[in-house]
């Protein structure tokens, strides 16, 4: 009986792996512009994130090191990417951040509990703390997040809006 259970579990995993492989291949191919099973290393982050993972920049850096060639060419090959990414998905690594955790993060930055951050405060935190944004990233976030009348981000509403948009 134990064997049956094991078999069932194994088969399920096989099916899951097969499906992961297809998903990973699809996402990879979107960026494989030369149709030669390679992608620019700078796009790997996008691929990984669009597959449902939410790594930090540091974690991404480590992942890339795993899939890069011995002598980095600036390109990542699918043959190296596939097994590493499959493992990531199987282990459910780098899970996305739940809404409530995100909210708490904003609240940490807003100890006075006003319910918002000023534009300058947001800029300061995002460009000086954590894994700082580039200027482009900052501008893009501001364009959607900042309420032009109050020049601030009401983070609860912002989160809600972004989450709806995702789905």
């Amino acid at each position: 009986n134990l064997n049956l259970l094991e078999d069932g579990k194994e088969r399920k995993e096989e099916v899951a792996v097969a499906e992961f492989h297809k998903k990973i291949k699809e996402a990879f191919e979107v960026f494989d512009h030369e149709s030669n099973n390679t992608v620019d290393v700078r796009e790997v982050g996008t691929i990984i994130r669009s597959l449902g993972c939410c790594p930090s920049e540091g974690e991404l850096h480590d992942l890339i090191a795993e899939v890069e060639e011995e002598e980095p060419t600036g390109y990542i090959r699918f043959e190296k990417f596939l097994p590493v990414m499959t493992e990531v998905l199987l282990e459910r690594r780098y899970r996305p951040i739940p809404e409530d955790i995100l909210l708490r993060a904003f609240e940490v930055l807003d100890p006075a509990k006003r319910g918002f951050l000023s534009k300058d405060e947001l800029i300061k935190y995002m460009t000086e703390e954590g894994e700082p944004f580039s200027q482009e990233e900052m501008e893009e976030m501001l364009s959607a997040a900042i309420d032009p009348e109050s020049n601030s981000i009401h983070y609860k509403d912002y989160i809600t809006m972004m989450v709806i948009d995702e789905n």
């Binding site: 979107v30 512009h33 993972c53 935190y125 703390e129 954590g130």
Partner: protein
């Protein structure tokens, strides 16, 4: 104090750490959000491109169909004969006398009430500028001036060589622009941002001025006006859309007839001729070659420079003049050019390995007696005999037409032993291009670069080839060129370098697929011919939108198009679904869904990525496919209560239908008779292996004839099924362009990498 301070420090440190971690979390989350947006953007782009190219393949198939008719059809009834003759004669290139006639604008009166721009010739620079201004204010140019301008343009173009030679000694800068596709706002923006053409400011426009956008006429007028005013500095290259047959499908014909109801036909006829006189390429300082599509491993600039470009009326059909062919044969002309035997399928070069063209199987079809009344029944004939028979009957028919038209009868001669046409000494008639000349022109107007080495047939577009970096290199070396500038492909940033920066694609129609889909760009060649790219996006609205909103908008448009395609193939898709559901549970796993859909549509899209946008509800990770398909249909059902399967057929073939309509409607009246529709549809379906009974065809025809008067009004029909492209109905897209989001990119000289 001590402990106080250290506690303070401790808290401070903790707080700092918390803040650091909080910020890192937010950043992490945000970066994922952006990545997913980027992925959506790429997928959206793939959707548009794959659908666009699938449409071009349809075009190819359609014209293979007409070639098939020309080669193999024996009309079985008087009606069918008449009907087909109308198609044949419509496609004939205008004779010299007809062209004269078309240029006959003097008789056209311009009413006093006309407030639009008035032109007098020779044109002065002020006139051209005034024209731009008038169009910016949405005025329309009177037909008389249109014809006059086209007439003058033609006179000028005739003197130009196939390959324009331009030198930077004379003008300080040269600006090269890519596809405009009827988007006048972009042209106006370029002139605004870069400056109007002048003796110091040369311009090259690299083809595809018309089709798709809603102001193709105005763009042509402006371009031709400046060409006449600054003939040494203003240059135009022909694109694959400067072609009256392509125009039938992609909207230019429709636009002209809509804007010029009375004189539209004359204008179109003259344009047909003007287009063939457009130069094929431009060479700057003998170093930079500018042409619309690309090159192939056979591209021969000397041949291209020598051939008579006027012979190539349309790149869509090799044989364009049945009558001339027949005449040449009748004269027993012994001047045979190299072309041997029967014409090859229209532009599939023998050297490339390709799936057989639709023309090949036609010989099989001819043998299947009784399949349709259009094919001779009885004993299967060998292809040669068949073609002889057909040629004779068509020739007889054409002879009848000639007689009706008042030409003297020609004695019927014996069938000539071999084929092809060639150079004809008669000034009125125009000779055919040789297959090689043909191929050369098609290659430069239709090819696309690819990353891999080599050269292979461009099966996506159905014409020209894909050329690799080695082909580029060889060509550049052979002719001592520095680099190539081409257009033909839409790029998200409006431009793209490839082949180690030896090939530059420049595309000037911003928001091509949809508002916010892409930027436009133009390139200035400075000293040493280094390229400087300028980008733009001519729409105020997009800049008030966030990236997310822009992407959503474009995405919605792409998904709509995709859902329509899915609907159009519902029956086939259902069959595939059922194969994956042997137990008839009514449910299908997602990976099976993806496989099934791809096997029917062949679009090569990332279906799993798109799945969340296309499939909303899942039971236990599986899809109830019947209701999913029904929902797709619900979006499409119109008031007319047309049967769903018929609707599906219509949607699947809508571009072809529209094109067929416009070809049949040779007098551009906007309506065709039921009989004409039925005949063409019958022939088309049998050629395309569409399984459809005669009854079905009658039903289809009758249901399309809304007011039951025996005629089908084209636009009404298409509108009712929401098949009309938005492009011609002037949506909310255009605005007075402002200088907004454009960035300068300085690029180093090509080949430096």
């Amino acid at each position: 104090m001590g402990s106080g301070t250290s506690t303070q420090h401790h808290f401070a440190f903790q707080n700092a750490e918390k803040a650091f971690r909080a910020a890192a979390l937010i950043q992490r989350w945000y970066r994922r959000y952006v990545a997913r947006l980027e992925m959506r953007r790429r997928c959206t782009w793939s959707i548009f491109q794959s659908i666009e190219y699938a449409g071009q393949q349809d075009q190819v198939k359609l014209h293979n169909f007409f070639s098939y008719l020309v080669d193999h059809f024996t009309p079985s009834s008087h009606n069918e004969r008449d009907f087909l003759n109308r198609i044949f004669t419509e496609e004939r290139s205008p004779q010299a006398s007809e062209t004269q006639n078309c240029g006959d604008y003097d008789s056209i009166e311009v009413p006093d009430s006309y407030t639009g721009p008035r032109l007098s010739f020779p044109l002065l620079p002020d006139h051209a500028t005034a024209l731009v201004e008038a169009f910016r204010r949405k005025q329309r140019l009177h037909a008389r001036y249109v014809l006059n301008l086209l007439h003058e343009a033609r006179k000028h173009l005739v003197q130009l060589p196939n390959i324009n030679q331009v030198s930077t000694c004379y003008s300080e800068e040269i600006t090269v622009c890519g596809d405009l596709h009827g988007q006048l706002d972009d042209l106006i923006f370029i002139f605004y941002k870069n400056g109007l053409p002048s003796p110091e400011r040369a311009y090259v426009f690299n083809g595809d001025f018309v089709d798709r956008g809603k102001d193709s006429v105005e763009i042509l007028m402006v371009l031709f006006a400046f060409m006449l005013v600054y003939p040494k500095e203003f240059h135009l290259n022909r694109g694959n859309h400067e072609d009256h047959i392509v125009n039938l499908r992609y909207g230019f014909t429709k636009e002209v007839m809509h804007k010029y109801k009375i004189h539209g036909k004359k204008i179109l006829k003259l344009l047909q001729d003007v287009f063939c006189w457009l130069p094929l390429a431009t060479l700057v300082d003998e170093k930079v070659l500018i042409l619309h599509g690309g090159v192939s491993d056979r591209t021969d600039l000397e041949l291209l420079a020598k051939l008579d470009r006027h012979k190539i009326v349309s790149t869509m059909r090799y044989k364009t003049r049945k009558e001339n062919k027949k005449q040449a044969e009748e004269k027993g002309n012994a001047n045979q050019t190299g072309s041997a035997g029967r014409p090859s399928p229209w532009f599939l070069p023998q050297s490339r390995s390709l799936p057989s063209s639709p023309l090949r199987p036609s010989t099989h079809k001819a043998h299947r007696a009784g399949r349709s009344s259009s094919v001779p029944c009885g004993v299967p004939l060998d292809p040669k005999e068949l073609s002889r028979r057909v040629r004779r009957s068509v020739d007889l028919e054409l002879e009848r037409c000639r007689q009706q038209a008042g030409f003297p009868a020609i004695k019927e001669k014996e069938e000539p032993s071999s084929s092809e046409s060639e150079v004809d000494s008669d000034a009125e008639e125009q000779p055919q291009p040789t297959p090689e000349e043909w191929r050369q022109v098609v290659d430069i107007l239709w090819s696309d670069p690819m990353a891999q080495e080599g050269c292979r047939a461009n099966t996506v577009r159905g014409g020209g080839c894909y050329f690799g970096p080695n082909v580029t290199e060889r060509l550049l070396q052979k002719y001592h060129l520095q680099f190539l500038i081409r257009s033909h492909e839409c790029k998200p940033e409006g431009y793209e370098f490839c082949h180690s920066r030896k090939v530059l694609t420049i595309f000037s129609a911003s928001n091509y697929y949809e508002v916010g889909s892409n930027r436009g760009a133009y390139v200035k060649l400075g000293p040493e011919l280094t390229p400087h790219i300028m980008q733009f996006q001519a729409n105020k609205a997009t800049h008030t939108l966030t990236m997310r909103q822009r992407i959503s908008r474009v995405e919605e448009s792409a998904l709509r198009a995709l859902r329509e395609k899915l609907f159009a193939h519902s029956s086939d898709i259902l069959v595939e679904f059922k194969k994956h559901d042997k137990d008839e549970t009514g449910l299908i796993a997602l990976s099976d869904w993806a496989a099934a859909v791809e096997s029917v549509l062949h679009l090569g899209l990332p279906w799993r990525m798109l799945r969340p946008q296309l499939v909303s509800s899942l039971t236990d990770n599986k899809l109830a496919y019947k209701s999913w398909l029904e929902n797709l249909a619900k979006e499409k059902l119109s008031q007319q209560n047309i049967q769903s399967s018929l609707l599906e057929t219509l949607y699947r073939n809508r571009s072809n239908l529209e094109t067929i309509f416009r070809i049949i409607d040779s007098d551009h009246s906007g309506s065709i008779s039921l009989d004409e529709f039925r005949h063409t549809w019958k022939l088309f379906s049998s050629h395309m292996n569409i399984d459809i009974t005669d009854d079905c065809i009658c039903d289809l025809a009758r249901s399309i004839d809304f007011n039951k008067d025996g005629h089908i009004d084209i636009n009404e029909f298409l509108e009712a099924f929401r098949l009309v492209e938005q492009s011609c109905s002037g949506g909310d897209v255009s605005d007075c362009p402002q200088v907004t989001n454009s960035s300068n990119r300085d690029c180093s000289s090509p080949g430096a990498h």
